[in-house]
């Protein structure tokens, strides 16, 4: 049995990693690029993004990207191997020209700025190259941004005072390296009268900082180590995933909300099972009778009604005060405002009163599937040989059903149960939304709306963790219920 559990546990590791990777991938795909983030702030629907605003604004956005790991490549970092020629090519593609899509051009340009310290060396080489005069302007801007690594509060604890000061001075210094230029339909042209002087400063800057931006010593380790995935996973497993939008650690946000969802969903699952299993058994024992047909049809009717529809109907008809009187049920939350001061029995009644409609809406749809599975399984068992033998022995019908058939027909129910734990965590968005219950489901919706990637990542990981625990419990239960599983693994 222990070998079996161990084997299951080991299998979970690749599954967990796989799921994490997929979630991370989806998050990366949906997150905004630097150009989109900047557009969003520069006046929304087509606000003017003038050069001045960009010059200071872009540093701030860079800082945000650098602190969340969004500036790094997702899985493999080959930036240390980018050659000067490649950078020249990239810079050229950011030039305006007839037929060039501004949208695409802008994206390429901002993506280049994000590439960070590995690009400083080739950019410095370009600026030093007389033959590439037209690129000196854009290359110097890119260099000033690639070399920009603002301090964040964690750095204050991590870095020595001297290093902090060095970084601050460097960040300040890089601004003065920018060679003014214009980017028009005819391409780049430098407008800076101090161009030559600034080029010399760049050369000098590179000389002084070659250590910090050295490629040869860092590029191999960076291939896998300096990636968005590593960054996010590092923060995730150390509990440091921080939601910039909420100014709070992700796990604190989640811990505030999960209790509500957990309780209400656990209750709904218990209720659903307590009703569906007996209903399924009863249907199976009375197969073909009018009762069975009525139950089946009624359940399918319920199943076909979407919960948001039923929820809204209930809200309007049972939870709304009218001119003539009070509503039957409360319209929101899980307890009254003064619940804290109620006696405990009254408090429990208050909870039941508040929870009745949300729970009903959560449960009714699962009655159908659970009870139909139960019915089908029970029927299969009741038709099998061992049941016939039991009956032939003279065992009474209840004994046959509950002692012999039920145990075997529970295998499917256990499989269904494996997914329930993660449902518990995920919460039921619609019901929370309609009945104004601040649970985890609504938190996820908020996070998605705010594009709060760390929060989504954190809750998904917990949800996945629970799903895996659920599967493990189911696996163990299989072994308990089914001797064949046990015997196979010794």
């Amino acid at each position: 049995m222990i070998a079996y559990i161990l084997r299951r546990l080991l299998w979970m590791i690749p599954t967990f990693l796989g799921i994490l990777m997929i979630t991370f991938g989806v998050m990366r795909l949906q997150s905004n690029s630097l150009s989109q983030e900047m557009e969003k702030a520069s006046g929304g629907e087509g606000g003017v993004m003038d050069a001045k605003l960009m010059a200071t604004g872009v540093e701030n956005y860079l800082a945000r990207f650098r602190s969340t790991g969004l500036d790094l490549p997702a899985l493999v970092n080959l930036r240390g191997f980018t050659t000067k020629e490649k950078v020249v090519d990239k810079l050229r593609r950011t030039a305006r020209g007839p037929g060039v899509s501004e949208h695409r051009r802008n994206r390429l340009e901002t993506d280049l700025w994000l590439e960070g310290h590995f690009l400083v060396e080739p950019l410095a080489q370009i600026i030093a190259d007389d033959a590439l005069a037209e690129l000196h302007g854009p290359a110097s801007l890119a260099l000033s941004l690639c070399a920009y690594y603002p301090l964040n509060p964690d750095d204050l604890k991590r870095l020595s005072q001297e290093e902090q000061r060095r970084r601050q001075t460097r960040n300040f210094e890089v601004r003065s390296l920018r060679i003014d230029y214009v980017n028009t339909e005819k391409g780049f042209s430098t407008t800076d009268t101090d161009g030559a002087k600034k080029r010399a400063t760049v050369a000098e800057f590179w000389k002084r900082n070659a250590d910090s931006f050295s490629r040869s010593s860092q590029r191999w380790g960076a291939i896998l180590g300096e990636t968005g995935f590593c960054e996010v996973m590092g923060k995730l497993f150390t509990g440091n995933l921080f939601s910039v939008k909420r100014k709070e650690y992700v796990f604190n946000v989640i811990s505030d909300r999960w209790k509500v969802s957990f309780t209400i969903n656990l209750l709904s699952i218990i209720i659903a099972w307590c009703i569906s299993v007996p209903l399924g058994i009863r249907s199976a024992r009375r197969i073909g009778t009018i009762e069975d047909q009525v139950t089946t049809n009624a359940l399918f009717l319920l199943w076909s009604l979407p919960s948001f529809f039923i929820g809204t109907l209930l809200l309007h008809h049972l939870c709304t005060d009218t001119a003539s009187g009070r509503a039957w049920f409360p319209n929101r939350g899980l307890s009254s405002q003064d619940a804290l001061w109620m006696s405990t029995p009254r408090y429990l009644l208050d909870l039941a009163w508040h929870g009745f409609l949300p729970l009903s809406v959560l449960c009714y749809a699962s009655f159908t599937s659970l009870s139909r599975y139960m019915r089908a399984d029970m029927l299969e068992q009741l038709r099998s040989d061992y049941v016939r033998t039991a009956r032939a022995k003279g065992a009474d019908e209840d004994h046959v059903v509950y002692r012999h058939a039920l145990r075997n027909s529970m295998v499917t129910m256990i499989t269904l149960g494996a997914g329930l734990l993660s449902e518990l965590f995920g919460g039921f968005v619609i019901v929370e939304y309609i009945f104004s219950i601040p649970g985890l489901g609504s938190l996820l919706v908020e996070a998605a709306r705010e594009q709060d990637a760390p929060l989504i990542m954190g809750s998904t990981v917990i949800s996945v963790g629970l799903l895996l625990v659920g599967i493990l419990i189911a696996d163990v239960l299989y072994a308990v219920v089914d001797p064949r599983v046990r015997s196979r693994y010794g």
Binding site: E102, L315, L348
Partner: protein, 668 residues
């Protein structure tokens, strides 16, 4: 016997469960008691402050100033210089006006549906709900009067003198204004916060210092203050801001500056000072924000703040000015679904809903009489009140279709005028929006003094549209049913795509009505929905024919961003239709340098006439919303103290009024 045992066991189990839950609830109850005690303490402090004020007034023999009613407390009439109109060399601020404050009306809690922000640090988070929070908890140097929005009044500054060709602003800061004490000050270890700190000029300088520091992550703000030369606290009560150039838009930004609690943000949680060079870095992730605290010098102070969930305010007992009339305000962010919001309103859990009734809810609940507690005819007569209000957050919101003037078919202004003649504006407003909206006729907020009332909108007239198009050369030459013309040697059929944001439920309806109308005069309109990112791409690449959009516009005007030709070919510009008119450019430039109001109004009116004639946009709808409120106490069950009727409090010192309804004419 067996059944008896089971029953007994069940009873014991239930009793045990109750006992366990009882124990589990104890810590929360204790916390509740503590919170109540804290609330009581604040209330007592408030009483003490009021009594002290009264005592001081009695001593100085100015009792009448304590409970001003009507116009008793209006300060001296403007002497000509202090008329609130910006001018150089003199203090032009009108005196602080406390006339609409009625001490006898103070009381009660107002609950309304507004989703609290995720963070209340306005520098780092500039969403609209953070802005609303800030209006309640913090004040600005000077303020606009709701009834005279273009005039400036004293607030935290008692005077401002502009010199150096409108480039230098020197403020005198009001004395004796105290920073609020955060609820955190009552917690162990934070006693250092529990002391009186006076507002000084340094707090204003600190606000700008943080914005302008490259380490502070507030890109949204930085652009506005780029051209400031310096901002210094000359002494504790003198604050000076110098700009590098004269610009009218600097006026709003300078007079609207706020203070930032320097005594908190420059310290660690234990009260020890943060080294100066680390202040901006730490500001991005400051312990005070993580504790969900924020303070200002405004009329309300934050009581409880749970991001995105709840936010409550209580009157600041030490407030220097006259506050709103409600003792407490509560924002409810839990209820988000439109139906659930309406139910919460009907059940009396919130007493106000602002711009939350959707057009279809308006039709069902009010127009069709679905909810008898609304009086269909007179919004103020029923137990529930309702009123149509313009715009959003104190600004008007107008919708339009912007034509891409680079496309051959839109080049001629007669064509654009014809497109306006062919647009059944009134019908669309009535059928799609159920009358919630007024026709927009130009680029200026119709509530503003700058609006040119002499503009007469294009009346729906298909025959006229057809005639104008023929005059511009667009007729059906090839008999295929669509009008066409040879432009630049190429035959152009009049066919265009109208891009709109796909998630907007109303544009498809509007466009389908317009499409029918245009079809009758031989123009083909193809509605072309796009998601956000794709819509931005179309704007960036100027890859659209018509683009459906909306702009928020305040009461003041500035035309450069949207209409100046210098932005016509700029990437990412707001002038994406590519509008270029020499006279309009001159006017827009001149407006930036003009501070004299009558002159500004004349410029703005001439500008509007040009844009109206040119029709680069098909100006469409000025949005209206339905504001609803409880005319009576929330419900019989509601034990909380609520004002007699919210309408009673809907005066200038009512949050609802101030927040969104700048131009409400109440007590009519």
């Amino acid at each position: 016997m067996n059944a008896f045992k089971i029953a007994l066991l069940a009873v014991v189990a239930v009793l045990l469960l109750i006992q366990v839950i009882d124990r589990a609830r104890e810590p929360a109850q204790l916390q509740g008691v503590k919170a109540s005690v804290d609330q009581l303490t604040v209330a007592i402090q408030q009483q003490v402050q009021e009594t002290r004020k009264l005592a001081r007034a009695l001593e100085s023999g100015r009792v009448s100033a304590i409970a001003p009613t009507g116009t008793a407390a209006v300060a001296a009439a403007p002497d000509g210089a202090k008329d609130g109109k910006p001018k150089e060399g003199v203090n032009f601020l009108q005196p602080y006006d406390s006339s609409a404050y009625h001490a006898d009306q103070v009381g009660g809690t107002l609950r309304y549906l507004e989703i609290p922000p995720t963070s209340v640090n306005y520098l780092l988070e500039n969403g609209s709900s953070t802005a609303d929070t800030y209006d309640l908890i913090n004040d600005t140097l000077c303020t606009n009067h709701p009834a005279h929005p273009l005039d400036w009044y004293e607030s935290l500054a008692t005077s401002v003198v502009i010199t150096d060709d409108y480039k230098t602003y020197t403020f005198t800061i009001r004395k004796g204004v105290m920073w609020q004490k955060p609820p955190l000050a009552k917690r162990k270890g934070y006693e250092w916060l529990d002391k009186d700190v006076e507002l000084t000029a340094k707090d204003f300088a600190f606000w700008l210092e943080m914005i302008r520091d490259p380490n502070v992550q507030c890109p949204q703000w930085k652009g506005y203050y780029e051209s400031i030369v310096d901002a210094v606290a000359v002494d504790d009560y003198t604050f000076r801001v110098r700009w590098s150039k004269k610009e009218y838009t600097n006026l709003d930004m300078t007079l609207g500056l706020r203070p930032l609690a320097r005594h908190v943000y420059t310290r660690f949680a234990d009260g020890s000072p943060i080294p100066a060079e680390q202040v901006p870095v730490i500001f991005n992730k400051h312990w005070f924000d993580e504790e969900k605290q924020h303070i200002g010098v405004g009329m309300y102070q934050i009581e409880v703040f749970e991001p995105s969930k709840t936010l409550s305010f209580v009157l600041n007992p030490a407030y220097w000015g006259v506050p709103y009339h409600f003792r407490r305000l509560e924002w409810d962010g839990v209820t988000k679904q439109p139906d659930a919001k309406l139910v919460a309103f009907k059940n009396g859990q919130v007493q106000e809903m602002d711009s939350l009734l959707t057009p279809s809810q308006y039709k069902a609940e009010i127009l069709d009489g679905g909810e008898p507690r609304f009086d269909q005819k007179n919004g103020r007569a029923g137990p529930f009140g309702w009123e149509r209000v313009h715009g959003l957050e104190g600004r008007s919101l107008y919708y339009y279709i912007g034509w891409n003037l680079r496309r051959p078919q839109f080049r001629d202004k007669r064509v654009r005028q014809a497109l306006a003649y062919a647009f059944p504006k009134q019908r669309i407003l009535k059928e799609v929006y159920f009358g919630l909206g007024t026709p927009q006729v130009g680029p200026v907020n119709p509530d503003s003094d700058y609006f040119d009332k002499s503009l007469v909108d294009f009346a729906y007239d298909l025959a006229k549209a057809k005639a104008v198009l023929a005059e511009a050369g667009f007729v059906d030459h090839d008999g295929d049913g669509w009008i066409d013309q040879v432009i630049d040697g190429k035959k152009v059929d009049f066919r265009f795509r109208a891009s709109y944001y796909g998630a907007n439920p109303n544009w498809p309806k509007v466009l389908s009505v317009y499409k029918d109308s245009l079809q009758q005069i031989g123009i083909e309109l193809v509605p072309d929905p796009a998601e956000d990112n794709e819509l931005r791409r179309r704007m960036d690449d100027k890859d659209f024919d018509g683009l459906c959009g909306g702009w928020l516009s305040g009461l003041n005007v500035d035309f450069q961003q949207i209409w100046h030709s210098k932005f016509a070919n700029e990437p990412k510009s707001s002038n994406y239709p590519g509008f270029a008119n020499k006279r309009a450019d001159e006017l827009a430039d001149k407006l930036r340098l003009t501070f004299d109001e009558p002159e500004r109004i004349a410029i703005a009116k001439e500008f509007q006439r040009i844009v109206f004639d040119e029709q680069p946009y098909l100006f469409f709808r000025n949005a209206e919303n339905i504001f609803i409120w409880h005319n009576r106490k929330a419900s019989d069950n509601d034990q909380s103290e609520v004002l007699e009727g919210v309408t009673e409090g809907l005066d200038r010192y009512h949050p609802l009024y101030n927040r969104t309804k700048l131009l409400w004419h109440l007590r009519n």
